[in-house]
Amino acid sequence: MQPVAVDELQKRGISTEYALELLTKMMQIRAFEEKAEELFALGRVHGTMHLSIGQEASAVGLSSALDSRDYLLNTHRGHGHCLAWYGSSPDLMMAEFMGKEAGYCRGRGGSMHIANVDTNNLGANGIVGGGLPISVGVGLTIKLRKTDQVAVAVFGDGGANTGAFHESVNMASIWKLPVIYFCENNQYAMSMAFQRAFNIEHISDRAVGYGIKGITVDGNDLLQVHDAAVEAVARARAGEGPTLIESVTYRWKGHSKSDKQAYRTRDEVKEWQEKDPIRRFSAFLGMSDAERDDMQAKARQRIEEAVTFSENSPEPDVAHIMEGVYA
């Protein structure tokens, strides 16, 4: 490893092993989503999906500042955060994605609703901004129980324009709830460019309106995301309330499976692909291309295993279709 990396990691108390683990997570996310796309193309999965390829540092950087006591409220573009989350299983995720009984949600939820309440992963959400009001409640639970947990609510630039965002962040602020509002500004809400949907430079500027700390970070730089999250977590655990983090990044793929991407240029996509967060972090760690490719191959292998696992899992039984509506 380069000395500067050693230094930077040490400063943050990140061991080499842990750094490699984080890189592995990013690679598994990439592999998972590439596989997801392939399964779609082959017609082996139905519905839709939202790939976060290009945004891996954002997901892994965030989760690297949290631990197993904390809560996650995730978005439709949530494979990454879900995989990055503590205790998550690529097998059960893939099984859910493929609609199988062994999936996290018994095949009832699919890509947009993967959750694992057992590990405090409170679920992806098909509704833009849908998790934000819920985060207020999670924050209240923590506050009422007086634990030192933190909840993180992930949303996109699009989500920051929903009424839900406003009501939620304000409530979290006035009650000093331990919630981190983590906005992944990937430049587009479907076809709506950030510049067209906002009349401000940084979404984090909105923090002013709620009297909380706001910060914008390079979302393709794992350590920058990590640092901002660590700071926000400390603030939350200390009872100082929420933080709004804007993680500036980019989605390489279309919005969902059926997107002609007429709203952006190929050059723009290429430009951002050069900021690949995985290459960036592996280079930072001083890895050679071969080392990196080798690691990525292993990650792909892991995802292949998840596919095999899922293929061997049965379909949900129609006889049980009415189950799970009421407790």
């Binding site: 095949g107 679920g123 009001p133 819920i134 985060s135 207020v136 999670v138 939620s168 799970g324 407790a327």
Partner: protein, 338 residues
């Protein structure tokens, strides 16, 4: 379960609002997972006084005033319920629940199912519905059938102080999201309410009055009006059987069907706008059941006119069923005029 009329069980007269408050106080004292959240539920005591005094008793941490953020209130309930609490939210007027719909319908109702049955959302959202206070079209809605149409939610509508307390305690202890619809004009009505912490099971209809000639399914304030109508009709020799579903969803349809098999005639009375309303559900349940073969007359709906609630007092009163209109409609049905 103590009896509604059993003063021996420590029942005394309470208003509907007092009964609700007593239920809230008792369960909050017993179960620290329960807390209240809503606009002006604290010092103000809620727009209709239901939570008066509870902030003094349990503190601002458990009786939480919110900004005007109905989506936020619903979300606060969902998130806390999902993580182990038992929130009781209040939407100040049922009209404003229109702002909570995404959270209630797409989140609260569906989370358990979408998560493969692996999560619970034990929350109660209390809200006052109905007209009669002169507050006009945006403060008089009766929207219960929207929620009946959303699997995953339970819908409860108490019509008496006794039911209010017993059903509220059941709702809070239920592991599902419950929309608990109160009625503004019922808050000051009185009835016997036992002091103890009794519950009335959800999804258990109540035969409020026995009768042979006509089955009247009524909800909320219409149960009271139907009871008054029954007294008038009884003087003419018409005995109506009044059934209060109490829980609209999931519905306990059996007593209704049994009753129609006995009387051969049925009508539904609710305050909400007739078209697209709950009456259609009750009519269908009757018509689809074995009671169909026993029907001697059309099943009728007596409900709110298909208009927004007008401000003017006379127009307002004429918009929704009153005692006299129940009497008239029942008489016609029994006398074979349909």
């Amino acid at each position: 379960m103590p009896d509604q009329n059993g003063a021996s069980n420590g029942a005394r007269e309470l208003t509907y609002a007092e009964a609700l408050r007593e239920g809230l106080r008792q369960i909050m004292a017993q179960d620290e997972r329960v807390f209240l959240i809503g606009e002006d539920v604290g010092v103000y005591g809620g727009a209709f006084g239901v939570s008066a005094g509870l902030r003094d008793e349990f503190g601002g941490e458990r009786v939480i005033d919110t900004p005007i953020s109905e989506a936020g209130i619903a979300g606060a309930c969902i998130g806390s319920a999902l993580t182990g609490m038992r929130p009781v939210g209040e939407i100040q007027f049922m009209d404003f629940i229109t702002i909570s719909m995404e959270q209630l319908v797409l989140q609260a109702a569906k989370i358990r199912f979408m998560f493969g049955g692996k999560a619970t959302v034990p929350m109660v959202l209390r809200t006052p519905a109905g007209s009669g206070t002169g507050a006009a079209a945006q403060h008089s809605e009766s929207l219960e059938n929207w929620f009946v149409h959303v699997p995953g939610l339970k819908v409860v509508m108490p019509s008496s102080p006794y039911d209010a307390k017993g059903l509220l305690l059941s709702a809070i202890q239920d592991d599902n999201p419950v929309i608990f619809v109160e009625h503004k004009l019922l808050y000051r009505t009185k009835g016997n309410v036992p002091e103890e912490m009794y519950t009335i099971p959800l999804s258990q209809a109540n035969v409020v009055r026995k009768g042979e000639h006509l089955t009247v399914v009524a909800t909320s304030i219409m149960v009271r009006r139907a009871l008054e109508a029954a007294d008038i009709l009884a003087q003419e020799g018409i005995e109506i059987e009044i059934i209060d579903p109490r829980t609209l969803m999931p519905l306990d349809e059996k007593p209704i069907i049994e009753s129609v098999k006995k009387t051969g005639k049925a009508m539904v009375v609710h305050e909400a706008v007739k078209t697209g309303g709950y009456g259609g559900e009750i009519v269908s349940r009757i018509v689809e059941s074995e009671a169909f073969g026993y029907l001697e007359a059309p099943v009728r709906r007596l409900a709110g006119l298909d208009i927004p609630i007008p401000y003017n007092r006379t127009l307002e009163v004429n918009t929704v069923p009153q005692v006299q209109s129940i009497v008239d409609e029942a008489r016609k049905l029994v006398n074979g005029q349909y």
